[in-house]
């Protein structure tokens, strides 16, 4: 039982990271209609920025906040310079662009910081605490907490601020939004910026347990893809719920089913994904699109 609880909590922690990155993917999908293959690399890059700031003597939280600001600016800049010119191009062209970005950013990270893994000290103690006789890691709780706060803040932003409303309107109906005076182009850029911030959060939360190297977020991105699609690409709640569920499920599968072990976790995630999509092609929380002829 205690092993089960431990696995659930550490699954929730990795699930929170998958969920944050999945939410970033959903944000971009909703605003620009593409899946951003470079999302993971953007997150890794931001995490290196945080590492550099901390290396220069900043504490974790100041470095964290500064990194989020830098990530936001970077996300906006990428949308303005690279994505905007192909706004009306076929989806495939934009997908290839983000694949190019993936390679570019990964190369830049390796170039600037080298390929060797770096130790990244997180804000949370790795000391175990005992709750009801079961040992949990404080870090896991911290990661869960940060993910939950980030997602909640984002939800509040979308629900209760004017900019959030404008963002939702621009994603839903760009034409009409333009008519009521919303600057749709900048809203899309804002979406990219927020996505980059979420990625930076996921990266800095993942780095203490994964070690920081240029390919750190690649596997995480795959789980985030799975979570985003599972939840239905356009559902923010779906992405977070599916991310958490995926984290817990993979942890339990890996622990209790020897065949899966550590090796087949990725195929197991894929099998779940395909199974769900066969029953619900629009994902768990997605809406069925009705086609008119």
């Amino acid at each position: 039982m205690s092993q089960f609880l431990q696995q659930v909590v550490s699954g929730l922690a990795s699930g929170g990271i998958y969920g944050s990155l999945a939410l970033a993917l959903v944000l971009i999908y909703r605003s620009t209609g593409v899946v951003n293959f470079a999302q993971g690399e953007m997150a890794t890059f931001s995490t290196y920025v945080a590492w550099t700031l901390m290396d220069h003597g900043l504490g974790f939280w100041p470095a964290f906040v500064a990194t989020l600001a830098i990530a936001f600016a970077g996300g906006v800049a990428i949308e303005r310079t690279i994505i905007r010119p192909v706004e009306n191009a076929p989806v495939l062209v934009v997908v290839i662009l983000t694949i190019g970005l993936l390679i570019l950013i990964n190369g830049a990270t390796t170039w600037i910081w080298g390929g060797a893994a770096k130790q990244f000290h997180g804000p949370f103690s790795t000391r175990p605490i005992s709750i009801g006789g079961v040992a949990f890691s404080i870090q896991d709780f911290g990661v869960i907490g940060v993910s939950v706060v980030a997602v909640a803040l984002l939800a509040l932003f979308f629900r209760f601020t004017k900019v959030g409303l404008a963002l939702r309107a621009a994603a839903l109906n760009p034409g009409s939004s333009r008519l009521v005076g919303i600057r749709v182009g900048w809203m899309l850029a804002l979406g990219w910026g927020l996505a980059a911030v979420l990625g930076a959060i996921a990266g800095t939360m993942a780095a203490p347990s994964l070690f920081l190297d240029p390919n750190m977020m690649q596997t995480v991105l795959l789980y985030a893809f799975a979570a985003a699609v599972l939840g239905g690409l356009e559902s923010p709640i779906g992405a977070v719920v599916a991310g958490l569920a995926l984290g817990v499920m993979l942890n339990l599968l890996g622990t209790y089913w020897d065949f899966v072990g550590g090796q087949l976790r990725l195929p197991a995630a894929l099998a779940v994904l395909l199974g769900v999509l066969l029953l619900r092609p629009q994902g768990l929380f997605g809406r069925m699109t009705v086609r008119r002829v």
Binding site: V35, L92, T110, F225, L264, L273, L278, V293
Partner: protein, 328 residues
């Protein structure tokens, strides 16, 4: 009729170019090796084009289908004593069946959902290959060089009194298959099947009401396309004479799609340009910058897409319009 004659003439010209190319680079063994690889990618991209360009379904699993073909060849050669060239059609068949099997669930998915689901397959394959190591040799893979089933045993082949070195033999083998498959793909796409696929891509409902069965043709496109990739993988395995999970790395599926879009969607010949792009770009970037080749690599793809979103085939269309003064 005139366009048909023109196309046959172009095809004949392609055959001549393919036949003579090694004579131009006779001394350069490396170039021969690369042209062989380009041939394999060419086949895979032509296949991918049938799926993406004609039926409108995005697949990021074609590297995995190449792996299926490559491993089929390797296992048949190593465990069942079949000669390498005879394994090529079987590899195509096995990958084609795998493609049909994936095509069925793919019917329910559209656009980026399909792209991600298929990418999941590409990503999962290496760990599956490592798990079932009694068949696939695990991470070590299967060594084929010098095996009795290898035609010429790695020393080259004598055909009609001419001696072909191993590089030349691989080159001619790959491109003979390449041109045959290109012709087959072209015939298929300019006939009833191609028209049906285009109709489905543009409007599934309209196609269905005109009597075209969307599900049948979409699954068929998946099968044919995967069979092409299987043959490509088989030839690639014969070319490098071993297979392991890194022979068909995960990014290969991404690169094939990059090659396809860089060449140009819906234009089969452009696959050659796309294949050359994905073979030569990594080599070229090493010359440009030794410190950060990957940055140049990514930037080149980004710039290419920004400047020429319709690919090399699109460039040709633009040039043709300029020359006929349509735009002036």
């Amino acid at each position: 009729m005139r366009t048909l004659t023109l196309k046959l003439a172009l095809f004949a010209a392609a055959v001549v170019v393919v036949a003579l190319l090694p004579k131009l680079f006779l001394a350069d063994f490396q170039a021969g090796d690369r042209f062989g690889k380009i041939g394999a990618y060419f086949i895979a991209i032509v296949g991918l084009n049938i799926l993406v360009g004609f039926s409108g379904q995005i697949s990021l699993a074609h590297g995995a289908f190449m792996a299926v073909g490559g491993y089929t060849t390797a296992i048949l050669m190593a465990d069942h004593g079949l000669r390498d060239v005879w394994t090529i059609p079987i590899a195509g068949l096995v990958a084609g069946i795998a493609g049909l099997a994936l095509g069925l669930p793919a019917l329910r998915l559209s656009g980026l959902y399909l792209a991600i689901a298929t990418f999941g397959i590409a990503v999962s394959l290496p760990s599956i290959l490592k798990k079932f190591d009694h068949l696939t040799g695990g991470s070590t893979g299967i060594q084929l060089f010098g095996s009795p089933q290898q035609t010429g045993h790695g020393t080259g082949v004598d055909i009609l009194g001419h001696h072909l070195g191993p590089g030349d033999w691989n080159y001619y083998l790959t491109w003979t298959c390449g041109l045959l498959l290109f012709a087959a793909g072209w015939a298929l796409m300019s006939g009833r099947v191609g028209r049906s696929l285009l109709a489905i891509r543009d409007s599934e409902v309209a196609a269905a009401s005109a009597g075209v069965h969307p599900a049948f043709y979409k699954v068929l496109a998946f099968g044919v396309s995967a069979a092409f990739a299987g043959v490509a993988g088989s030839l690639f395995a014969i070319n490098v004479a071993y297979v392991n999970p890194d022979t068909f790395p995960i990014p290969l599926s991404l690169y094939l799609l990059v090659g396809l879009v860089v060449g140009g969607l819906g234009s089969l010949w452009a696959a050659a340009a796309g294949a050359a792009f994905i073979v030569y770009l990594p080599i070229w970037v090493q010359h440009v910058s030794q410190q950060a080749p990957q940055v140049v690599y990514g930037a080149a793809i980004v710039l290419f897409m920004l400047l020429l979103p319709t690919g090399a085939a699109g460039l040709l269309t633009i040039l043709r319009r300029v020359s006929s003064k349509e735009v002036l």
